[in-house]
């Protein structure tokens, strides 16, 4: 059985399953992206980093306590670090100049410092949590599905719904969107764009940390994985259209499936080139994303 491009057709269901789990992970990062971009107009370079921080702190805490308190400790620690990074560095720098270049660079500086601190604190070995509901895989259409993959998918659905509800149905969410679309008008009705940006940033850190907690049992996380997740989430978010949160999730699955199929094929070495070549094409040809629904309207 050779199949297309050397993909064994009998393994097809398994390849699709791998793509779905990868896609769910990228989709989780893309939700954080979409949230921050939609509510503040900033590109969240730290999305993957907060995922890694949440995973690492939870893994360390779980050596001393059961999973749920450990996850709470991990998420709170990540949010605290995000708050310090925002008020200590990002906000002062953005107040001087709010150009996208500056926004990128200051976040990369924070990323470098955090990676350095993680290397010193957690060491270079990857860390993982035990799967939440055992390791016995069950079979769907001939593909072995680890139970943890369902946890990741479930977390994705919960976060997607929660973020959409917060943004569209709650007063703080409306304030966030208002501040992003017209900062002056928002200030006139009593919204403080600065504190809105801070809360969005911390909310994004919290959901990224939770994503990290459910992801570690599937793939161990090491201190320098942050940017890799960020970039994968970036690609997903761009495919779906920046600021379009549900589009970003679909983009995540597209990237996940492409990665899984390319890795299983005879051109596995070019997986990254294919994914980022696709990113290049989409950015140049359809900067609004390839999915045209739920178009971003001004609030």
């Amino acid at each position: 059985m050779s199949g297309i491009l050397g993909i064994n057709l009998q393994l097809l269901p398994q390849v699709i399953e791998v793509g779905l789990s990868l896609g769910a992970a990228y989709g989780l990062v893309a939700v954080g992206f979409g949230l921050v971009f939609r509510a503040t107009g900033l590109v969240n370079v730290l999305a993957g980093e907060f995922l890694v921080l949440g995973a690492l702190t939870t893994a360390v805490a779980s050596e001393k306590m059961p999973l749920i308190p450990a996850a709470i400790v991990g998420v709170l620690a990540t949010v605290l670090i995000a708050e310090v990074a925002y008020d200590g560095v990002i906000r002062p720098v953005l107040r001087r100049s709010a150009s996208p270049a500056v926004g990128f660079i200051v976040q990369i500086a924070v990323l470098l410092a955090l990676v350095g601190i993680e290397q010193k604190t957690f060491g270079t070995d990857p860390r993982a949590l035990a799967p939440f509901s055992g390791r016995t895989a069950f079979h769907v259409f001939g593909a072995a599905v680890p139970p943890q993959a369902l946890w990741v998918l479930g977390m994705l659905v919960v976060q997607l719904v929660a973020v959409q509800l917060i943004l569209h149905r709650s007063w703080p969410g409306r304030a966030m969107r208002a501040a992003a679309s017209n900062s002056v008008a928002a200030q006139m009705v009593g919204i403080k764009p600065r504190s809105v940006t801070r809360s969005v940033f911390m909310l994004a850190a919290a959901i990224a940390a939770l994503a990290g907690v459910v992801l570690t049992p599937i793939s161990a996380v090491s201190y320098d994985d942050g940017l890799t997740y960020t970039i994968a989430g970036f690609v997903a978010a761009v495919l779906g259209g920046l600021g379009n949160i549900s589009g970003g999730v679909i983009g995540g699955f597209i990237v996940g499936e492409i990665t899984a199929f390319a890795s299983a094929s005879s051109i596995a070495g070019y997986t990254e080139a294919i994914v980022y070549g696709l990113l290049l094409l989409v950015v140049i040809l359809r900067p609004g994303g390839i999915i045209k629904f739920d178009r971003v309207k001004t609030a």
Binding site: S97, A101, L112, G116, V275, I284
Partner: protein, 341 residues
């Protein structure tokens, strides 16, 4: 235009470049020739960092793809030397030309983009270049390939590197301070006003991207010649962050920022390599501190400090009221592209 006053104004630049070229001799006399290696790296990082500085400081765009042209230049240099038996200097010229052509080709679609979209697309460019270099057979794949050296290693080589960096700096400085250069800078402040004067911002940005690609290629060729070996790992995330750090730490407002940035990064690297486990932390925190405290980089800080001292001295001499020093401070803020709060 070349008269005594012009030469006097230019003299510090010439002196600085002469000092750069002579620095290997000075280190040698002081018995510190172990650092020659670091000086060559300062030149390599400085040239590619200068490319980033020009793009970031002039057009205000974030372009991560300069590293991709470093990849093109390094492999063009290595391949033409080992497969076609060319003279290493010819190989270096070939590397510059090929990366400039590559940059011109990809810049045409990229010119439509700005802001994060350009940042993202160029990030993709770097990934693709690195990934393809790691898989194609002519590059030697993951294992990399060997490269010729420009001239035999040692003090001559280091002086050559510094001389090349010095020449590139002088050319960039001349262009930036010419009429064209002022138009380029105006583009960053207000591109609509520049278009209103009948100047094509697209044409200028294109020229800037091509020049940045050529400089990236030169830097890649010099890196290949220095270590006589090249692999995709030489162009990883470390290099991407490093050149961003060179231009931000040094200051993207002036071409001399790239020199200051490359020297500081060289020192930081040398310093942090003796603390294995904490090196990344020192590096990252150092980067943060400089971004927070010196928004226009080290070169911008030095320039505004010099200007401010000059103002203060002059106002003291003419017994001007104290208010004029306040003007000096606000002018410094305007110069560094930021507003007093």
């Amino acid at each position: 235009m070349i008269n005594a006053a012009f030469l006097r104004r230019q003299s510090w630049r010439g002196a600085l470049v002469a000092l750069m070229v002579l620095s290997p001799v000075i280190f040698n006399v002081l018995g510190q020739s172990v650092y020659l290696n670091n000086i060559r790296l300062v030149a390599v990082y400085g040239i590619i960092g200068l490319a980033q500085t020009l793009v970031l400081g002039i057009s205000g765009r974030v372009h991560f793809g300069i590293v991709a042209f470093g990849v093109v230049g390094a492999y063009a240099y290595a391949y033409s030397g080992s497969h076609w038996g060319w003279n290493p200097f010819l190989c270096a010229v070939f590397a510059i030309v090929l990366s400039a052509v590559a940059s011109a080709a990809v810049s045409i679609p990229l010119l439509r983009l700005a802001g994060f979209y350009l940042g993202l697309a160029t990030l993709g460019l770097w990934f693709v270049a690195q990934n393809v270099a790691g898989n194609v057979s002519i590059t030697g794949g993951r294992n990399g390939t060997s490269a010729l050296t420009l001239i035999s290693a040692g003090i001559d080589e280091t002086m050559l590197y510094m001389a090349i960096f010095g020449v590139v700096l002088l050319i960039a400085d001349t262009v930036v301070r010419s009429r064209r250069g002022r138009e380029l800078f105006a583009m960053n402040d207000d591109s609509e006003a520049v278009s209103g004067f009948g100047l094509s911002t697209t044409k200028y940005t294109f020229a800037l991207f091509v020049a940045a690609g050529a400089m990236g290629g030169l830097s890649g060729a010099l890196l290949a010649s220095d270590v006589q070996y090249i692999s995709p790992d030489s162009f990883g995330l470390d290099l991407l962050v490093l050149i961003l750090a060179v231009s931000v730490i040094g200051g993207a407002q002036s071409v001399w920022g790239a020199l200051a940035g490359a020297i500081i990064i060289g020192i930081l690297q040398q310093f942090s390599s003796s603390y294995q486990n904490t090196s990344a932390m020192i590096y990252g925190l150092g980067f943060l501190v400089i971004i927070l405290l010196l928004p226009s980089g080290v070169a911008g800080f030095l320039a505004s400090a010099a200007k401010q001292t000059g103002r203060l001295l002059r106002s003291r001499r003419s017994d001007a009221p104290l208010g004029s020093s306040v003007d000096a401070v606000s002018e410094v803020h305007v110069l560094s592209g930021s507003l007093p709060e």
